[in-house]
């Protein structure tokens, strides 16, 4: 089976890319291993930031619905519950679908498989009741199940703080937010809501241990300085759930398998595929976008997806060079505007380093 473009992952980047590429005339196959497309969108009940062009003020799941609708209207071919098990020589994508492995030969492949939560190891981390914040968010926002009644959040970045607030809204008692750094990580607007709700922030603290008989019943937290737990500062908190939100890393196994050059960029999640300003990797015809191309946000993911799609459309002859360059510049400008401010600038600098590393092996 042959398709011009295979897009792996139907989250923000993949959906935006599928729409853009289809509009430009590409024959697109969008593959996702989940039951529904949309990636993390349908877990995101909060409003997005950015400019008008980035659907600012609209809640994540609403943006997801819009993209899905557009995908349907354009008649994009979407394979759900289909796992890509590998990328093989000759840009062949092996997809496990309905128990059968189908091999799709593509001219271009866009990998937007997103990110994965980092684990945090501490005594008791394998107890039932200790989970990633993303898992808790899926439970509460997608499956409408409360993961616990007394919840401790580890990590005060945007994910930790937003999920904590949503758990609070759903009726759980968030007993605290533990942050190893001496400051709160999240955007002020998100952190402030928790502050006003009376949730304590334990900054300069870490989790020392989770205790319990057959599931977590108690968390021990302690002061944390220079990467060390300070003895004698331990404090016990009754909990039934501990959520871990200590960052994400790019999911890049497929890019690795395809032989894509990687680099280590801590600000973007660590080991990641290197790409150029067109989102193309060191392997010609293989592109990355979204968290796979360095962990950022859904807004940047969507624009990276569009940028990759424009590059692919041009490479496959569906867009002339001049039109493509103009579109790319518009998207790059939007991406630059998303990477402003104290948080964005750090990511912008990191992205510039990615570009400087270059895609020649």
């Amino acid at each position: 089976m042959k398709r011009e473009v295979v897009i792996i992952g139907a989250g923000p980047a993949g959906l935006a890319a599928a729409i853009e590429a289809t509009k430009n005339g590409c024959q697109v196959l969008l593959v996702d291993e989940n039951r529904t497309a949309g990636g993390q969108f349908f877990k995101q009940l909060h409003k997005f930031f950015g400019s008008q062009a980035h659907s600012a003020g609209i809640r994540g799941f609403e943006i997801g619905k819009q993209l899905l609708k557009e995908t349907e209207e354009l008649g994009v071919e979407v394979w759900l519950e289909s796992s890509v098990i590998g990328i093989f020589a000759g840009k062949r994508v092996a997809v496990l679908r309905n128990g059968i492995t189908e091999t799709v030969e593509a001219q271009s492949i866009l990998i937007c498989t997103g990110g994965a939560e980092n684990p945090l190891r501490f005594p008791g981390w394998t107890y039932p009741g200790v989970m990633g914040a993303g898992a808790a968010q899926t439970m509460v926002n997608v499956n409408r199940v409360l993961p616990g009644k007394r919840i401790l959040m580890i990590g005060s970045g945007n994910v930790g703080v937003i999920v904590a607030y949503q758990l609070l809204q759903a009726g759980a008692d968030v007993v605290g937010i533990v942050e190893g750094m001496p400051r709160i990580g999240a955007y002020g607007v998100h952190a402030a809501k928790l502050k006003r709700a009376g949730v304590p922030f334990f900054i300069g603290h870490t989790i020392a241990e989770a205790r319990g008989s057959d599931r977590v019943e108690e968390a021990v937290i302690a002061r944390f300085e220079n990467g060390q737990i300070l003895k004698g500062t331990e404090r016990k908190i009754d909990v039934d759930t501990i959520c871990v939100a200590v960052g994400l890393r790019p999911l890049s196994e497929l890019a690795q398998m395809a032989g894509v050059k990687h680099g280590f960029i801590p600000e973007l999640g660590g080991f990641m595929p290197i790409h150029n300003t067109d989102m193309e990797t060191s392997v010609e015809g293989i592109y990355v976008a979204g968290d796979t191309a360095g962990v950022e946000e859904a807004s940047t993911a969507m624009d990276e997806g569009r940028l990759a799609a424009v590059s692919v459309s041009c490479a496959l002859g569906h867009l002339n060079r001049a039109d493509a360059e103009q579109k790319k510049e518009e998207i790059r400008d939007r991406l630059a505007s998303l990477r402003q401010g104290p948080f964005g600038e750090r990511r912008m600098n990191a992205k510039n380093r990615v570009i400087e590393m270059g895609v020649t092996m």
Binding site: G86, R92, T101, T103, G259
Partner: protein
């Protein structure tokens, strides 16, 4: 003037480490050189089967048996857990015709002193209850066993080091020159001098050969392997299809009743249980240079063939796939011999038998260099046989 070693062994796979060990055991000053680490290439990508069942009656079988007979004592001698087990092996025959060929093979091998016996339909299903119910029969080889191949190479290398051998790892050889009484081996980290050189570089042996002006006819024959999840005991020991013999040697008129996909990838079913309750599935053959990327078409053919013999495998997950390169020679026999260049020896080209043949290869190479008589006439392994 720097030290002149008695022997420089180039290549730290199972063959090179064994050559280093047995030469050091004879008291020689040995240096073992490798571009990378111990067991970096073929030895870390092969299965651990120590077989006589897949050898041809005659010299091939006797040489392999001599090597196999060394394994029971190796663990103690080398003071290293190489996970040696000796449960025998089982060939499966799919058709009456295959069973007939296997029976003739069995009687020829018995004449060479290899202990084998035919199993009929009922016996073979009793032996491995998860087998497909239509398997025609089997052939059991009593003495076959299995080791942990990476462990074996480490065992030899570390034992050699204890005997005084020097390990020069991560030190690629870039050139080699014959001086009057010794070889000057230019490596990335400096020059090494040695009176004798053993080229044990497996698929890379031709590169080292070229430096010495020798044309070594070894090619990389790629093989792929699937690794299962940890699971129940699907089969208790090494099981493979008798058709494996036919694909390995690319001989005979017999055509297996297999799909196009199995045929084009030269896939023959090989099953090997591991000590940690996973199992490995092989085997495929292709000449694709030094490409060791997995290929989905081969992976599917391997799985298809495995399920044909053990239908229960359809419900078991594959967790990994990898491939390696067998050092293939045109007549499927290794080169274990000297060359026209005095002091330059070759121990390479063992195709899929390098792990199993490593002890005897190292031992013979030590005898040859010392000018002693080998346990049998090794002319079938001479480099000279390719000179025409």
């Amino acid at each position: 003037m720097s030290q002149i070693y008695d022997i420089a062994v180039i290549g730290a796979g199972s063959i090179g480490t064994s050559c280093a060990y047995y030469n050091a055991k004879k008291g020689a000053d040995v240096i073992l050189i490798d571009a990378g680490d111990i067991a970096d290439s073929t030895s870390s990508r092969s299965d651990g089967n120590i077989l006589v069942c897949d050898k041809q009656p005659g010299f091939d079988a006797l040489f392999a048996k001599a090597s196999q007979d060394m394994f029971p004592g190796l663990e103690k001698e080398l003071d290293y857990n190489i996970e040696w087990t000796q449960k025998g092996s089982l060939y499966l025959t799919e058709t009456e015709e295959e069973f007939e060929i296997a029976s003739r093979f069995c009687s020829d091998m018995k004449q060479c002193g290899i202990e084998m016996r035919m199993l009929d339909h009922k016996e073979v299903l009793e032996d491995e209850p998860y087998l497909a119910k239509d398997i025609y029969g089997g052939l059991e080889t009593i003495s076959d066993g299995s080791v942990y191949p990476i462990g074996l190479a480490y065992a030899f290398a570390l034992a050699a080091e204890r005997l005084g051998a020097v390990l020069s790892l991560h030190n690629p050889v870039v050139d080699l020159k014959k001086e009057e009484n010794y070889f000057s081996i230019s490596c990335e980290n400096g020059t090494i001098l040695a009176k004798n050189v053993v080229n044990a570089c497996g698929v890379r042996a031709p590169l080292i050969g070229k430096m010495a002006g020798l044309d070594i006819p070894i090619r990389a024959r790629q093989g792929q392997i699937l690794v299962s999840e940890q699971t129940f005991r699907v089969a208790r020991r090494k099981v493979h299809e008798f058709g494996y013999m036919l694909t390995k040697f690319q001989s005979g008129d017999y055509e297996r009743p297999v799909s196009e996909r199995v045929k084009r990838n030269e896939v023959a079913f090989v099953f090997e249980p591991t000590a940690s309750n996973n199992f490995l599935i092989g085997s495929s053959r292709s000449f694709v240079g030094e490409d060791i990327r997995s290929e989905i078409d081969v992976m599917q053919a391997l799985a298809e063939r495995a399920i044909r013999f053990f239908p229960v495998i359809a419900g078991i997950k594959v967790i990994r796939a990898y491939s390696g390169l067998r050092p293939f020679t045109p007549d499927h026999m290794p080169i274990v011999s000297g060359t026209a260049i005095p002091g330059f020896y070759i121990a390479a080209g063992h195709e899929g038998d390098g792990i199993g043949l490593s002890p005897i290869t190292g031992k013979c190479m030590a005898d040859i260099i010392a000018g002693e008589e080998t346990f049998m006439d090794l002319s079938p392994l001479s480099f000279e046989r390719f000179s025409n």
